[in-house]
Amino acid sequence: MSIVRVTKEVVFLYKIILQLLVSGIAMGFVYGLVGIEYTLIWNSTGLLNFSHERIIMLGAYIFAGSFVLQTGLSVLPAIVATIIAIIFFAVFVAYTIFIPLRNMSALCAIMSTVMLGNIINESVRLYYGPEAITVKGFLTGMIRIGTLVVARAYVVIIFVALIILALLLLFMMKTKTGKAMRCVAQNKNASSLMGIDVQKNMMITIAISFSICSIIGLLVIPLYSVKQSMASMISLKGFAAGVIGGFGSLPGAIVGGLFIGIIENIAGMIFPSTFKDVVAFVCLILMLLLRPSGILGKKRIS
């Protein structure tokens, strides 16, 4: 009798851990994507894009507010339309703000991206109104895998994140533009001497980064719904992910993201769940104390 009960409990615990692991990995990929999205811009322009939280939010609003609710597009065309709209926005921001700003001091660069974020935020509030928007039935529900029941959103996040990573890897390794992007990340002067159009390259990088932002925005709609503060936590944890994985490294961002995602879910089981959001930032500060170059980071050659 008692043995049966114990095994039942063990199975139950095992299931919980597995479920936490799945949600941890899913959130980890979200943080990792955020890490990648800002690292791309950092490597290309040397700017830390503090407006990324608002870009993620903007993506979700354009999708939900403009395309699904106002024009009544179905989900897939709406996603495509959102990404196209965000790319136009990215090109505009790249040429008017990011590219002219890249030679300014760190202080000005950071503050102007923060202000850009605030302006976007206010514009969204004025245009879409302060209330949260819900998209009915978008990525909601549960999926049963074997005996495991997990939220559909998590499965979709993992799936989409893997596709984005694969595409990004292919793009960076195989295409001429991707190779040029890697060159620009390493040395802007040398790249421009080799005939790479650095400004165009930055523009493309920013467009890719913003599209990733908008996809993140779509993916987290079922978790946070479409509201102005929807991306504040993931954007901050994405920063932490980048540093923990190794600042400036794309694989590092994913590793750091997964690290945070899994750790905070496990910590949420041990500590009161209200402290779950603190874990990522404590990890960040510990990491800087113990191993400032991050999990995958190498020491930079100056």
Partner: protein, 318 residues
């Protein structure tokens, strides 16, 4: 264009104006606004060392301000000690935070400080919000006693105004002395060329930690003052937005000068109020104005008029 001698006259005029203001106007609303501006000025004086002078972006000031406010509020409401004694604890906390947060992020070169300070601000806000039994959670702390000075309770607007003015002038003087000293020189040297600072036999990371700790102590003290000034605090005040506002004060006002911090604090606390006539659009107009200032006059308004900044810093590219 005016020089340092002229700025002394400007300080004198400003102080006299501030002393006379309540006598001329008895609009309590403006007096309240100015009280808040004085508290912000103290934060800006401190932040100026690390962000204005060494050029390291600190986006966690709200967290330190919050710790200062809660420490003083909780000590005085729970243990009933004098606010002055609590202030000593606040100073100690500011010092400890400065070193504990500055050490991991400032011994490295790069943008780590911006990231860790954001993280720190977020940790503080989350903890204050969630440790309901201890901090009162979202309800905040009520009935914080005012400071007492020579047997007078500083509980009227006017008394508070003059008290805060005096404290602000004191911290302004301290800031002024540091800016125009060997420390001010070394802080600026770090922004200009950090490698050269080390070759001069000065540990650049130590200097950055000193600047950051000064900023933390100033912010913590201002937080303590804020708690007793407003009598009620809750976590929704101490957001990332507040941290950003502090940086804006230093930047838009004029980095590296006391006058800039004064101007910045007054602008940031009063300008949004003056734009209220724009209705729903006042915030976006304010942000756009700040954005334009950031790009067009990155050294701030005051430095446009100061002689020594005429030659712009050459960007150091390696």
């Amino acid at each position: 264009m005016f020089s340092r001698k002229h700025t002394r006259k400007i300080y004198a005029v400003l102080i006299i104006a501030a002393l006379a203001f309540p006598l001329i106007s008895n609009n309590t609303y403006y007096i309240t606004m100015l009280c808040l501006a004085f508290i912000y000025m103290i934060v800006a004086f401190g932040l100026n060392f690390i962000t204005g002078m060494t050029g390291q972006v600190n986006l966690g000031t709200a967290g330190i301000f919050c710790i200062g406010a809660y420490t003083s509020a909780l000590l005085t409401t729970k243990t009933f000690i004098s606010p002055w004694l609590a202030l000593l604890v606040v100073i100690l906390f500011g010092f400890v935070i400065g070193i504990a947060l500055g050490y991991p992020s400032l011994r490295l070169k790069g943008v780590y400080l911006s990231l860790t300070t954001i993280a720190f601000g977020e940790i503080v806000r989350q903890l204050v919000n969630n440790m309901t039994d201890f901090t009162g959670g979202a309800h905040g702390v009520r009935a914080i006693p005012p400071y007492c000075l020579f047997g007078f309770e500083l509980n009227t607007k006017l008394r508070l105004y003059y008290f805060l003015l005096a404290v602000t002038i004191m911290f302004g003087l301290i800031a002024y002395r540091i800016i125009y000293s060997k420390w001010g020189r070394v802080f600026t040297a770090i922004r200009d060329n950090i490698d050269a600072v080390d070759t001069c036999g000065i540990s650049s990371s130590k200097v950055k930690i000193i600047a950051f700790t000064l900023a933390a102590v100033f912010a913590a003290i201002a937080g303590g003052l804020y708690a007793h000034y407003s009598g009620y605090i809750n976590p929704s005040t101490f957001t990332l937005n507040l941290s950003v506002s502090f940086v804006v004060m230093v930047m838009v006002g004029g980095s590296g000068t006391v006058l800039g911090s004064v101007l910045g604090a007054v602008l940031v606390s009063i300008l949004p109020e003056m734009l209220r006539f724009l209705g729903n659009y006042y915030q976006i107009v304010f942000y756009i104005l700040v954005f334009i200032c950031t790009i067009l006059i990155p050294n701030g308004i005051v430095n446009v008029f100061l002689e020594r900044q005429k030659t712009k810093a050459l960007p150091e590219k390696n």
